[in-house]
Structures are given as C-alpha cells and as structure tokens.
Symmetry: none
Subunit: 377 residues, 2 copies
C-alpha cells in the first residue's frame, strides 16, 4: 500500500478559523491539500426595498454588505476566483459542495463547469417549513440547490454509498432531501436575542453532506464559514475543518459553538463497509481451500447449463473454457458477466450462487469481519 501524503510544508493547519477575506486567505492555502470543500457563498439576492408580511410586520431578510454586487459580471468574476482557488487547493480526488438559490446557483454551476469541475449531482434541499410568499405572486420558494462536483472528470471521489443506502431504509439515497430550516435552539442568537447570522444552515444538512462524501480524518474547507455549521458537524464526525470568515463576530460565534461540540465515539463513526473495499478472494482460492473440488459441477440459475470446475480455477462447458466471468458472459452471449452471481453450486438439491462460498473462504483465511469485532471497536 502506498501512502499518498503531501510534503509536510504543504499540509494546512487543521481545525482552525482564519479571519480574513476569502480571496486573500484562500491564496495562502497550499495546492492539493484539502479533501472536500463546502461553500455557502453570498447569494447576490438583489433585494429591492423591504418586504412586509400581510400583517405589516417587516421581514428580516438578508441585507448585508457582503451580499451586494454591482452586476452579474462582478458576481461571476468573484465566483471564478474563489472557485478556481478551491479547485487548486483540492486534492486530485477531492470534491466540492456549493449551495445556492435561483438567484445565484445558475451562475455558480456554469462557472464550476467552465473551470473543469465535473458535476456529480445537483441535490435539492426541500424545506419542511419555508417562508411563505407573502405577496402571492410566485410559488413558495421551498427549496435550495446544492451542487456536488468532483475536481475533475477523472477524480476518484469519495461516496459512501452503502452508508447512505442503509440510512435510507436500504433504498438508494435520492437527489431530493427533506430537512427543516435551522431554527429553535440550534439557531445561534446574538446578545440581543436576534439571529446571529441570516443564513445559518441546519446541521442535519451538513451531516448528510459530510457522511456521504468524506471519510474520518479528511480535511474540509469552508471559505464562507459564517457561524461555523461546517466546522461543528465536521468536528462531531471526526473530520478536520478549515474555515475562512471575514466577520469577527461571526467567527467568534463559530469558535464558541464548535468548542461545545464533542466528537462522536469512533465506533459510532464506522461506515457501512463497501463490498468494493473488502479483501478480494479469487475463484482459484475456493478450489485451493478445497471448498470446491476440481471436476465438480456448476450451473446457471435455470440449470440449463452444467459447467465443470478445472483444477486451474477455470470453468469449462462444451468446447469453451475460461474464468467464471468469461464463461458466464460467453454462455449468455453477453459482453460481461459477474460469475460470482451467475454460477451456482448444488447443495441439498437446491442451487446457490458461488458468491456464498467466498464467505467460507474469508473465514478460513481470517479475512471475515466478525460481528463481535465491529461492536468492540
């Protein structure tokens, strides 16, 4: 196994909040030093005047300097710069998440594609409790959009497929996620009891993002840290974080918040093992261990074909001979075949896939994951 590690000088400091302008501070972070980026950039809302509820109370919307840009061109230039920096900072197999609304997300997505990011999914955060449309002139804006992209088309990005599937009652996780907005005790308040940050994201959202697309020990960069939701969830999940925030009050609130977070015990952070990551047991081993004898018969699921196991780990049928995969593809007239699931052995008059024999081999080889061990770790 090769440990790919950046030179020590290129390792960024972990678990810290950098106070300063995102563009300036990103420029100081070394190349290829971060595993994942989560970015919640200014939305460029272009609000015009204030909005009143039907009862004439004022809606406390986003009205901050940091959300004002003179034009789409200005906003695009800003995004090209920070997204380009993030791409430089990402490791080759790194990935990025960006969240936005219809005001800015189209510009973000197009810029990401132009820079060479490879979009993996757009994910919709459906809000359980969105703000209604008070004027009755549009649909209730009940969602925001996240873009998940790999650094390159060729990046071997992290995706904890099995974990998410287990999470979702054994169904693949879909691209539409349902969460409440951040409110109640989770919502940070300033000394006057007003919300500390206008766009604080729910921890549940970051929790799913980080569980899905990072591993324990990974470094997660958030260039618009705000009150530190990314840092809080990263710490809880055993990931490291780097946050950049130019507002000292936000940064202070984030620091205080993260200090209260405890990392979950290691056992709680284990992910569902993927079959891909399990040790490989080749078919020949099944024969070497005496689990299948040379000369014994294997069958297709319908018992139409009876192939014979050779001592060298191949299968033969009529005049054809090859690996379990090749012969399986050949007898079906297909390009490819997973021989482990296609071929069956007979036991007690019934057919079972030879995949089951691998489990026996793993146990004999001491490669099996014992349930007791999982519990003890």
């Amino acid at each position: 196994m090769v440990l790919r590690r950046s030179p020590k000088s290129a390792r960024p400091q972990r678990d810290r909040i950098i106070i300063g302008d995102s563009l300036e501070q990103l420029a100081k972070i070394p190349d290829a030093s971060v595993d994942l980026v989560f970015a919640d950039p200014p939305y460029n809302l272009q609000l015009d005047g204030e909005l009143l509820r039907p009862n004439n109370t004022r809606v406390d919307g986003v009205d901050n300097d940091w959300d004002r840009f003179a034009s789409f061109a200005d906003y695009d230039a800003f995004c090209r710069t920070w997204l380009g920096e993030c791409r430089r900072i990402l490791k080759p197999d790194g990935a990025i998440w960006v969240i936005g609304s219809y005001h800015n997300v189209f510009r973000l997505g197009a810029t990401m594609q132009d820079l060479g990011f490879w979009i993996l999914n757009d994910v919709v955060w459906r809000k359980v409790n969105p703000m209604p449309n008070f004027r009755g002139r549009r649909f209730t804006n009940a969602h925001e959009t996240l873009i998940w992209a790999a650094r390159d088309q060729k990046s071997r990005y992290t995706f904890n497929y099995e974990s998410l599937k287990a999470f979702n009652d054994d169904l693949q996780m879909r691209s539409d996620w349902l969460f409440p907005i951040c409110s109640g005790p989770e919502r940070l308040k300033d000394d006057d009891g007003r919300k500390a940050h206008p766009t604080q994201k729910p921890e549940a959202l970051l929790n799913r993002v980080l569980l899905a697309s990072s591993n324990v020990g990974d470094v997660v960069l958030d260039p618009f840290f705000g009150t530190g939701t990314t840092g809080a969830v990263a710490k809880r999940l055993g990931r490291s974080y780097i946050g950049i925030e130019r507002d000292k009050d936000y940064a202070a609130a984030a620091r205080e918040r993260i200090a209260k977070v405890r990392q979950l015990p290691a056992s709680a952070l284990e992910t569902q093992p993927s079959k891909r990551s399990e040790p490989r047991v080749p078919f020949g081993t099944i024969i070497e261990l005496g689990i299948l004898k040379p000369g014994s018969a294997l069958f297709d699921p319908r018992r139409k074909i009876r192939a014979e196991v050779k001592a060298d780990g191949t299968l033969s049928w009529q005049k054809s001979q090859g690996s379990i995969h090749r012969l399986g593809a050949h007898v079906q007239g297909k390009q490819a075949c997973n021989g482990w699931t296609f071929w069956h052995f007979e036991t007690g008059g019934k057919l079972k896939p030879i995949d089951e024999l691998r489990e026996r081999a793993k146990q004999q080889l001491g490669l099996a994951r014992m349930p007791a061990l999982i519990a003890a770790e």
Copy 2:
C-alpha cells in the same frame, strides 16, 4: 376590461406545428406575439459509452444527434440564440418556462439572466419513479429543474395564485412538485412498440405549468415540440399552441396525438376569482392524475347539491366557487368543512366520499402505505 391585441399582421398562426429548425423558424415569428413559452431544449448529456444494469441489460439512453454539442461554448451560443429569439417573440408581460437537468440547467439559467429575463422561481420536478443509479456511485438523480422567468423585471406576468392555492388544499403551491415520469398508456410508441421520443414529458407537468401561468386563449410557443405534450395540454385547457419540431416523425406523432385531444368545456376551465397538514395528496393532484375529470360532478351526502369540478382544482355550485373545503363550508353555511368527507362522487349509482380517491392517488404517487402495515397499526 381592456383587450390588448397585437396588430393583425403581427398575429402568428395559431394551433399549428411548424416543421423545421428551431432557430430558423423562430426568426420568422413576429415580435411580441406570444404569451408564454415552454421549452424543453436538448440537455447536452455528454454520455460516453453504454451503461449496463446489474443484470447486464443495456440502458436505452439518449443517443440522438440532436443532443450532441461540440463544447459548452457551442451549447451556450445555441441557447443564447433561441432564448434571445423567444424573448423577442414574447409579449412585454409574457413569461417563459425552461426545463433541464444538472447537465444544462446552470447554463440555461445564467444565459436567461444575461439576456434580461427575470427569474421568478426555479421549480423542482421530483420524480416518483426515477431510474436508479446502477453503479452506486452517485445519488439517484430523482428530479429535473424548471426555470420560470418573466420577460423583464417589470413584466406583469400571469400567475393564477388563487387557483393553485385552491388546487393545493388552500396552501400556497410550493416550488417542489411531485409527478411520475411519463410511462404506461400516455407514453407514445412507434410502430415497433418502442418509445417514440426518448424524453416525452408527462402531461400532468404541463398541466400545472399552463394552469399556473397562462389564461384561456393565450398563445403558448414550444420551440422544441417533440411529440407535442405542450400542444396536447394547451388544447385541452383552451390555450393555443405553436410548436416547432425539426423531426418529421416526431411532428407527425404530435399531430396525431393532439387531434385526439378534446378541449375541456368552458365551464370547467373557469378559474378561481381573485378573491391542514392531514392531506398529503391535495385535491388538485386527483385531477392532475386523471382520477377525476374536470367537468365531472360531486354531490353532498344527501345528493341535494351538485357541484362541478374545475380544471384548476376548484369546485363550483351556482355562483360560488372555491376549494373543496371552502365550498363545502359555504353550502352548509358553516365556517369550516372537510371537503374530503363532505363531497361524494357517483360510482355504480352509489355515492362515495372523494377521500377514497386519495388512496388511488397515493398509490400512483408512491405514497401508499402497505395494507399490512395499516392493518397492523
């Protein structure tokens, strides 16, 4: 009432399919002559090679000339042209809908903003039954995105807010919509029984779009007509359509399809004049799914009152019109009423509460619970 009408020379021919290249044919349509555009442009999917299911069958993906572009720049130039033409053709108070996936929707949205369109909402079509991710490398791509935009920031666009709200059981319609993909009898087949068009959209989707953002008699332009879903729904709802399609086979299928469509009676098309949480399936969905037809009759339990179902999800009786709940309360002289149990439909000479129709809708939407579970609770 003021009839705003373009000069006669500037009125486009209505209810017709123009066979030809979109860019060429759009150029021939007069300025400011159309009320609404619905566009389902090529997605520029950039597929590479074939995809096999776990059982080694081949996925019949989009592999058409019309979806291939040499680069993002080419695709952007194409979109700038057709979107620019659409904007010229739209009346000053007109609006546009564009549908796409993450492959192209960011480029579409950014181009629309650059051209001066004013985005009103992005709307998510959540698919009940999307294609799974066979390789387990991403989230199931379970939605597509629609962008709804006015021609200008100042446009006084059409939005039938009250209708949609009644349609949705007196709750504002949200920006996330749930529909099945187009399949079954609705899906057009060619002579060989294969899908006539790879990307046919469900009529329920167009139904909501046109009900929400157009009026009876409006002209709807679809520059990528395909097999004519826009035309079929427009005709049924009493709107006019202009479709542009360069493939003669698609255009012929569209013509044949639209010929079979009957316009709903005028009374069913009346909209709600401008004036909880239990139902997961709003009444409008019952109509969208075709379980109740607009124009059909509902009765009170004693069959004293005969109300009529409107296409926009309202009910009318004598001079009153409103949601099933409002009208139910009104006819009883009460403050409130659960329309689901008050209103009945006739089947086999007997009356049954419309609540039973919700179960059918839930099944179609995949929201049904297992009978065994219900029985066990």
